[in-house]
Structure formats: C-alpha cells, structure tokens
Amino acid sequence: MLIDTLTRLLTFIALLLAQVLVFNHIHLFGCATILLYVYLVVMFPRNYPRWAILLWSFAMGLSVDVFSNTPGMAAASLTLVGFIQPYLLELFIPREAPENMRSAMATLGVTKFLLLATILVFVNCLLFFSIEAFTLFHWQQWLLNIGGSTLLTLTLLMAIEKVRK
C-alpha cells in the first residue's frame, strides 16, 4: 500500500517535471500542445478508492497550474477526468478480471486501452481548451486546439505505454 503510494508519487513528480519543463514549450502547427499529465489518471487500477483518485487528479492539475500561470484550468479539467475514469475502466474490463487489476496495454489489450486513453485524453483536452477559451479565441482555433492536442498527447501516451512492461 505504501509502496504503491510512493510509486504513484514518483510518477506524479516525473510527469509534472516533464510537463512544465519540456511539454509546455512544444506547440506544433500553432495549435497542438502536449498535455501528458492525464497519464496519471489513465493509470489508476480498478477499485482504487474514488476519493483518492479525485485528490490525486486535483493535486496534479493544481501543480501544473502553479507552474503554467493558468489558475484553476488544469485542476478543474483533470478532476472531472479523474471522476469518470473508474466508470470508464469498469466498461472496458473483461468479466473474469481480478479485483485490483491495473490499467495498462498489457492487461487490457491494445484496442481497449487505446479507446480508454482516447476518451480520457479527449475529455481533458476538451475541458481544458473550453475553459481557456473564456478569453477572446475564435471557435475554429478552439476546435483545432482540441483535435491537435488530443492526437499529439495520445500518440506520445501510446508510445510510452508500449515501452512499459
């Protein structure tokens, strides 16, 4: 239990540093940005306490906000994604699965994991750019942002997942 929390904390810090030091500066074609911190939420195993998932997501979102000068935006979107993750995972889990099955490409299979990751990444990007567009952005730019960022983040996420055992 403690080992699990410590491993999750290490992943948290690694994703946070990668996001604020590297990914925050990458913008392709003027629209796509990488929001890889959703990976933390995608990785929660089945039957992990719901309140804990919410607190982890909120902490991750808030930390990214502190470093990116975007107060409350990542926190709000990531908390909602953390809320829907257990419901989605339950849909994709095969019927005879163990109680604490972890969410990975090795255990779920490529297509199911891809679908789960796509939905979670898409919802996060949708919420994040919608909250950001409270300022004076055009709707075409808004759609481009969501589409481009989802694709880019998803590609990177699947690449990292392939390397994970």
Binding site: L21, L62, V66, G72, A75, A76, F83, T135, L136
Partner: protein, 289 residues
C-alpha cells in the same frame, strides 16, 4: 440522521468532486485579486526556483551566440559614438558638455538587470517571469526593456521574483508609442497570433509618415523614457471607424529567445506625482473668490 450519514458515505466522491470543482472555479475567477494570486502564480518561490535552474542550464547553451552578437553590437556602437562625439565637438566647439549630458540622463534612470526565467508565446494573455523582485528594487508598474527594444510592464512582485505583462498580452498591454522623427503618437496593441507583429492604434489622420519608419516609446507615460525602440512600420490601415490610422508594426524585440532584460526605475516619477498631487490639493482647498 443515520440515513443522512449513510447517504454521505455512499455518495462521498460526488460531494468531493463538487468541492474540488468549486475550489478550481474560485481560483479561476479570482485570479485578478492581488494577494492571493501571488501565491499561486509563478512568482511563488518554489516554482521560481525550479524555473531559474532550468533557465540557467538552457542559457548556458546559447552563451556563445549571445557573446558574438554583443561583441558585434558593442563594436558598431563604439564607432558610432566616437563619430557623433567628433561631429558634436566640431559643431559646438565644446567636447566636454556631451559627456556631462549623458551622465545626467543615466543618473535619472536606474537600470536593474534581470534574467527571464519563464516565458510563453502561444496564449492570448502571455506573462514573463524575471528573477528580480522587491528586494532588488523592482516595483509594480515599472517598465521592462531589453537590448533590442521594449518588453513590457511589471505587474506583480514578490521578494525575489516579478511577473511582467509583455507586449504580447491581449487584454492588458497598452504602451504609448510615437513615430521616430515625426512625433505623432498612438498606443500599441497586440491581437494574438504572430508574436512578431503588433498594431499601433489611434494615429491621427493628419499625421505624415511612411512605411519603414521606426516606432519608439513616446515618453508620455511615467513607465518608459522616450526613445526605447518598439519596431518598424510594415503596413498602414484605416481604423475600424475610419477616423484614424492603424499601423502594422514588426516588433524589434524577439520574444522567442528573450534572456537578458532590464527594469527601468525612474526616481523623478515619484517627485512628479507628489508635485501634481500638491497642486490638486491646493486648488481644491483654496478659498472661493
């Protein structure tokens, strides 16, 4: 009572979600409140320190190019200065007064050099964080410039860091600028998109100027002295209501690789403001005749 506790226990995660979303919403909509935003913005010590380390490592890799650029500019400017001095001396038969005037000008402005530790270009409202704060003499509403031109205005300070609103900020950036040599002035506004292009609004229709003229700060505000470079006029449009001109300006500052900047603190501004206040007070308190 037991039913209520059972209900809360069963739907606890819904309530937690609601609470966390409300906290995020409060953060989102209260950001403009002065004190609380300093805590959460990148001016906070921890975030600032991490960015400072990162910026140190990055700047190390661009030292060679920066050195070469500086040496070249130094050489060119020294030659120009020597030539101007000689010309002035020939014209006025007085070679020491120019040095005195230069020293006087520098005495009026105190420059605080700083390094940029965090920068964004892609948002509608961009912010820059520098590694000098109130302990180094930086205060709110001081102007910030770099070797190539104007950068922005200080918005928030903590003891060791400050957040600057650059020209690339749609809602908050308005810098008064004038066309060099002509004197006509307007204000600079950025509308998003290309970070090297901004627009000067409200230039009067009787103004005479042409494409390719340089635009610099007008000196009509207490934030920037006169003459800090802004950019070059690229295209001339009519304003939306047709009553003035709108100039498309190619900015001289490269916001993409901003590293060394300096904060301009003007001692005479507080004296000006005090004098103005004294005049206003004396007018309101003078006996009616």
């Amino acid at each position: 009572m037991k039913n209520l506790l059972a209900f809360i226990a069963r739907y606890f995660h819904w309530l937690l979600l609601l609470m966390l979303e409300i906290i995020s919403g409060v953060l989102l909509f209260q950001y403009n409140s002065y004190q609380s935003s300093v805590w959460f913005s990148t001016a906070s010590a921890a975030a600032g320190k991490v960015y400072e380390w990162d910026a140190n490592v990055r700047s190390f890799f661009s030292l060679k190019r920066a050195n070469e650029e500086l040496t070249l500019r130094n050489f060119y400017m020294e030659r120009q200065l020597a030539q101007l001095r000689r010309l002035y001396g020939d014209l006025t038969q007085d070679t020491t007064s120019l040095v005195r005037q230069e020293l006087e000008l520098l005495n009026r402005f105190k420059l605080v050099p700083a390094k940029v530790v965090s920068n964004t270009l892609d948002k509608a409202d961009n912010f820059i964080t520098i590694d000098k704060g109130s302990d180094d003499g930086v205060e709110k509403d001081m102007g910030v410039a770099c070797g190539n031109g104007v950068v922005g205005v200080v918005y928030l300070t903590s003891s060791h860091y400050a957040v600057v609103i650059p020209v690339l900020n749609v809602t908050s950036s308005r810098i008064s600028c004038a066309i060099r040599g002509r004197g006509y002035f307007g204000y600079l506004q950025w509308y998003g998109g290309d970070p090297t292009v901004a627009y000067v609004e409200d230039v009067p229709r009787h103004a005479r100027f042409k494409k390719g003229d340089w635009v610099e700060t007008s000196g009509y505000s207490s934030i920037f002295p006169q003459g800090v470079l802004v950019g070059k006029i690229e295209k001339i449009f009519n304003s939306a209501d047709g009553l003035s001109y709108r100039l498309k300006v190619r900015l001289s500052t490269d916001f993409g690789c901003l590293r060394d900047v300096y904060v301009i603190s003007d001692h005479s501004v507080s004296e000006q403001l005090q004098l103005l206040k004294a005049v206003q007070d004396s007018i309101t308190m003078a006996p009616k005749q």
